[in-house]
């Protein structure tokens, strides 16, 4: 009887860990830092949210371009993939029609790179949340 209870508990724990391994990176991708928040890594979550958020909005503030889906130039396709890494921030920017870019402003090109790198860093953070969920990292 006790052995059955232990087996059931182990299965429940494994199931919870398994669902967290999927949920955490997804949440982290949708909103920077959320994957760490739901695993009670609050300080890391706040720092990641600030780092990615500041970078993304600084890019927009510098009149950087937000790429939309395209099948044209390779760099434009990669730019879209990078931007998409920002998850919810990207979708908000697209919905609000932010990030039309400004080719007459040299700093706007920095802004475009800021937005792409914010997306890529967010993917790194989401993978980190996955590693925490599977117990690879404390």
């Amino acid at each position: 009887m006790a052995q059955n209870t232990t087996t059931v508990n182990q299965r429940q724990a494994a199931s919870a860990a398994n669902s967290m391994a999927t949920l955490a990176p997804l949440a982290g991708w949708l909103f920077p830092g959320l994957g760490h928040f739901i695993q009670r890594r609050y300080i890391r979550g706040v720092l990641l949210m600030l780092a990615v958020g500041i970078m993304f909005f600084a890019g927009l503030g510098m009149q950087g371009k937000v790429y939309s889906f395209n099948v044209g130039d390779l760099l434009d396709i990669l730019g879209f993939v990078g931007d998409l890494g920002a998850g919810g921030l990207y979708f908000i920017a697209r919905l609000m029609d932010w990030g039309s870019g400004n080719i007459h402003n040299a700093v706007a090109d920095y802004g475009t790179k800021y937005i792409v790198v914010a997306g890529l860093l967010n993917v790194v953070a989401a993978v980190d949340a996955h590693h925490i969920a599977i117990g690879k990292k404390p």
């Binding site: 990641l48 600030l50 780092a51 500041i54 970078m55 800021y114 790198v117 790194v124």
Partner: protein, 60 residues
């Protein structure tokens, strides 16, 4: 809302945000995270300064 940063300030902000994420994600303990983040920040900023001098030397 738009704002203008100088090239150096833009590089500093980039280095700060990127090294924060690198520090948190690439190390396991708080102490190591801070040390690695500071290391990455120093490399970013140092790289900017070295590249600036190299470009200045090429121009002159």
């Amino acid at each position: 809302m738009t704002f203008q940063l100088s090239h150096f300030n833009a590089a500093l902000l980039f280095a700060l945000c990127a090294s924060t994420v690198f520090g948190i994600t690439q190390r396991n303990t708080s102490r190591d995270m801070f040390r690695y983040g500071a290391y990455c920040f120093a490399l970013f900023v140092g790289g900017v300064i070295v590249a600036s001098w190299v470009m200045w030397l090429i121009k002159h």
